[in-house]
Every structure is written in C-alpha cells, then in structure tokens.
Symmetry: C2
Subunit: 354 residues, 2 copies
Amino acid sequence: MEEHKQEGKITINDVAKAAGVSKGTVDRVLHDRGEVSEKSREKVLRVIEELGFKPNMYASMLASRKHHIIQCLIPEFFTGEFWSLTDKGIAEAADLVSRYGVEVQPVRYDQYNIESFQKVCEDILQNPPSGVIIAPMFRAETLRFVRELSARGIPYIYVDSKLEDDDYFAYFGMPMYQSGYLCADILTMDQDVKKVYLVRIARDKKGLSDPTLTRRTGFLDYMSEHYPAATVQNVIIDPIDAGKIDETLDEAFADDHQKKYIVMLNSRVHLVASYLKRKNITDCRVVGFDVLEKNVAALRSGQVKYLIAQHTDKQTVAAVNALVDWIILGKTVAQKDNYTQMDILNNLNCDYYM
Amino acid sequence: MEEHKQEGKITINDVAKAAGVSKGTVDRVLHDRGEVSEKSREKVLRVIEELGFKPNMYASMLASRKHHIIQCLIPEFFTGEFWSLTDKGIAEAADLVSRYGVEVQPVRYDQYNIESFQKVCEDILQNPPSGVIIAPMFRAETLRFVRELSARGIPYIYVDSKLEDDDYFAYFGMPMYQSGYLCADILTMDQDVKKVYLVRIARDKKGLSDPTLTRRTGFLDYMSEHYPAATVQNVIIDPIDAGKIDETLDEAFADDHQKKYIVMLNSRVHLVASYLKRKNITDCRVVGFDVLEKNVAALRSGQVKYLIAQHTDKQTVAAVNALVDWIILGKTVAQKDNYTQMDILNNLNCDYYM
DNA sequence: TTGAAAGCGCTAACAC
DNA sequence: GTGTTAGCGCTTTCAA
C-alpha cells in the first residue's frame, strides 16, 4: 500500500501571514468567536477566499479535543419489531462516526406512556447533546420539546414521520401518501379486483399520532381512481390476541369465496400471514409494509406477496451523517426533506435486503 | 450546540509509561516497524491490551501527514449511460472520504479498446495508489493486472462483476443470476404468458466478457420452470442505428397481435421504449434494467412497466468505504462478496430513487 | 482587540 | 534497539 505526502496545503499560518495577523485572530474569525475588529475580519475572510484555505479537520479535532454526542429518541421495542431496525441504524451510525469523536446514543421511551416521554425529554435538556434525532409519537409534547431545542440552538432531525413545525434541521422518511398509493398499485396489479380487505389495528390511545393515516389516504385515493367499483372493507383486529384475530378474520372472509386481496398499512402484516397459514388459505394476494423478520418470513413462505419497505436503518444513518456534517464540518444538508425510496420486495429479491 | 470534553483517554504516553519504554518504541510496535526487541514488543502489546488503548486517529493523521489515493478503473461513457452512475458514486465517495485525507480518482479506459486498458494499468502500476476499484471488462488483462497489485500488497475491489481469482479484497455487485430470475417473475407476473421477446444487443467484440450472460441464464431458467410452454424469442438489434431497430422489431412483431411481453437484460431498454413510442404500440409489458435517465423517462411515460436496478452509485460508495476502512483503520470488510439489493422500480416509486 | 505560546496525541528522523 | 525531540495544523489560554 503506497502513501503520498500531502503537498503544499494552505494552512492557518499561511492565511495569518498573508492577512498580516496572527493565527489566533484567524482562528477567531474562523469560528465567529468575536473579539476581532471588523477590519481584520474582512481581510482574513478575503485571504481565506483567495487562498482557498480549508481547515485541516484532523488538526482541529486534535487541538480542540472535544467530542460530540447525538441522541436518538425512539420508542422501546421488542426484538424484531419495527423499531429494532431503527435501532440497528443507530448502532451502525454510531460505529461510522466514532472515528470523528462523535458518540451516538439511543434514548428510549415507552410509546404508550406520555410521562416516560416527558421524562427523557427533560433528561436530555438537562445535559444537552450536540444534536437530536427524533421519531415523533406524541405530537404536543414533541413540539414543546423541539421548541426548547431550537431555543438552545441544538439541531434536531425528524425520522419516520415529521410534525408541522419549521425549525427542524432535516427530515428523513418515506413519502407516506405515495407509499399508500404505490401499495394499492402493487396489490391490484392490473387484475380484476372487486373487493379489498384493509386490515387495521385497534388504536385507542389518544395523544398518539397515527402515522398511517396519510398512507391510508393515498391507498384509498388510488382505489377510487383506478377501481371505483371495488369495495374496500375495513377489518379491525386486536394485535394482542391471536384467537380474537382468527375470529375477526374468519368472520370477515366468511361469505367470500373469491381470490382475496388483503392489505395492511402498518408493519404488522405478519399477523394476517400467520392467520392464513393457520387456516391454510392460499387463494389470496397480500401486501404489507416494512422488513420485519416475521414479515420477510411470510414473504418467503408465500403468505405475503409483496412488502413495501423504507429501510429505516439507512434513514437513521443518513440522519446521523447529516447531523455530523453540520456539527463538525458546518455543512448544511442538501435538502431539508429527504423522502427515501420505497423498496418493493418479493420472495425473489428480499434476501438481498437483509 | 453543546460540546463535551474528552475525558481520561488512554494515550500513547500512558502506554509507554506503563510498559517502561518510550513512545517511540510504542509507535514502532503499533506500526510493526521492527527494530524492537521481542521482549519490549510483548510487553507493549500486553499493556495496550490491558489499558484498552486506541490510537487517536486525528493525531495520527495529523502527524503522519500522508494522504491516500484510491483509483477507480471504469469504462469511458457518455452522459446518461450506465457507467455515469458509477461515476456519480465515485464523486460522492470522493467527497465523503476527503475528510480522511483520502483522494478518490476515476481512471477511465475505452471498453472497446484493449490497448487503452493496458495503458491505464501500466500507468497505475507506475505510481501505485493505496487501493484500486475495478469494473472488469477484459478478463485476461484484468487478471494479469490484479496479480500485479496482489504482489505489491495493494488491495483491490471488484464492482459490477467479478473474475475468478481469489485475492480480491471484496466484491460489490448484483447477484446476476437472481436478477434474471427476478426479472422473469416481474415480467410474467402471474399472467398467462405464451411468448416472450428477449431483445439483445449485437456483440461482436471478442475479449469482452458478457456481463449479462449469467443474468440470461437466470431468466431462461425461470421461464422454463414456470412457463415451460412459452416460447422465448431472441431479437438482436443494433444499438447504433435507430432505423435498423425499427425494421428489426417490426419484423419480429409482425404476426403477433397479442399483448407482447418484452425484456432487455442490459441497460438499454430505452431503445425498445423509443421504438414503441414511435410506433405508438401500447399493448405490451416491458421490463428492463438500470436507472438510466432515458429508462426512467420511459417508466414515467409508460412504455416500460418495470425496471430492476442495482444502484451502482451506492455500490461504489460502499466499495470506497470498505477500502478506506482497511487502509486507514485496518478494519477488514464484514463479508467479501457483497451482493447488493435489486430494486424494483415502477412509475410510482421511481422518483424516490433519483 | 490582538499576538505569543503552550499544548492536543502521534510520527519519524536522529542520536546514542 | 531505544529514547529524545521537533514538528503536524489548529485551539485556547494569557498577557499585553
């Protein structure tokens, strides 16, 4: 392995000399630390421009010997659930940016308990990190929290879904409406569809925002545009009780002896899959979301035909990188809203996504 | 934005003190530079282990002030062609790793001229970089070249396709056979397919490996497994001459008044698309590969139904990162063969891939 | 408001 | 073989 000496790089000394000041002064203008006369400031800035001076990040990091912490607020989860992918992304990002002396910490809260969320927010504000990544679940509380972050100049990034404030540094997530629209297209696939089962989860917790609402709108819009005659039947199941699920679905499908088109717009399509497996029902086309292990297993074994996936882990990595670029290098993100791709997975290509 | 002082990090000085040697010696064992007694060596190694010493990469890079060059050998191309995506990946990677003082250089050759390839290989060996990324087009020549790299201890990574040597540091590319298999599945999509048109490009250059051969095998295997009664008709077109293409395809489709299933296994499906557009033929299902701008345009305007894409740019970035991890941090790649995902694009999700 | 100077942790040349 | 030392380019006192 060959090495090459770095040739004639412009240093802070060159700038200082050319501007007729000391490097202390150059450093001050570099970091906007004030205590510099407007005259010196302008001169230094001009020289920097002229010489094309780029600070050496290694030297800078070495001398300042500070490190940064980025905290990621996500819901607690069990292994294999939706959020475990985000968690994987956090770990990956942590590893990637450790070389910059940046630490990435997951901070978990109970998504069904608002107090637990308030608690972690307080903790974070107590000892504030250099940046925050947040998957918003509680609207009002989150807004209150990010307002506080803004006030302190701490950049924050939304992932998964975003709220209607304007101060966020960036957003990384799926285009929700379009994902529902796409889902309907994949489900119907030019076929002669008369009826679609839209399986949903009972949600009675209030204060929770329903991230799939927009997606559902997209789905229904597609259906009414392309299959105005088809009926969409909502089926509400209770994720806790498998016996109950069987009952509910049995009932829903009771009089239907045609090929069934079934869709779930959250990550739990594996619930339907396991019902179909138990009942040995094969004449149907099932589409769902997200690459949970159970979902992919259902893809492999045929109960689910397609999954639409958003690769939460990559989103998280991208979010962390954006934050690091900003914190360390001062680079702003190319675009604020980063709608990530929607991957279409079936049993033939899913292996290569794992 | 808050900053945190780095607390009690173990430095090379601590190690030196604990081992009862000077930091010069520690540095020597750290870099296997010899000139150290076996006794000191062992002691230092043990102390490093015990204290959990991790060299500070910033200090190291600053002091050694060397920078690394990674060269990427890819074919020349016109804007919008397949290789331009790889080129984009190179630029992206270059930007990403510039913070480590690593430079990424594209090196282009004429893929239809073996001498031009030999020339750049020689040039590279003349002034060897720290690592090489190579998209192999000429089998024998490439093998000769990488053997030389191996001999000099320069790591190289294959992208796009790989050859049958064993010394490569890693491979990043699509699983070719599976991509053909998947393609057939997407093309037929449970429908009642009697006949498929496999459009191919005339290739008379010898010495060139045909990267789509394996893909074609996968495609044909799927067809004979799932549609044994269907016929696959090869249609060879000449990419240079649009008039000739029209003629050839007119002839091929002359007596066929059914819905047509058409596939191309390389990146040129836009050629078929523009024919269909010119002739205003709509009753067909067309599937192709790779997200060239022209292909995506055809997706949007409906001539092409699906594209299977491999995101060459991401592969390149991953390859460069793997090389940097090895060169700078000594981290080996997690797995040697990295089969990247096969994205399924249609007109509804393609925007989010651009 | 500014300059001088002492590091940051590591590398590499040089002297012993 | 080994220790010593002068940097690498930047940050951050501290004194002026």
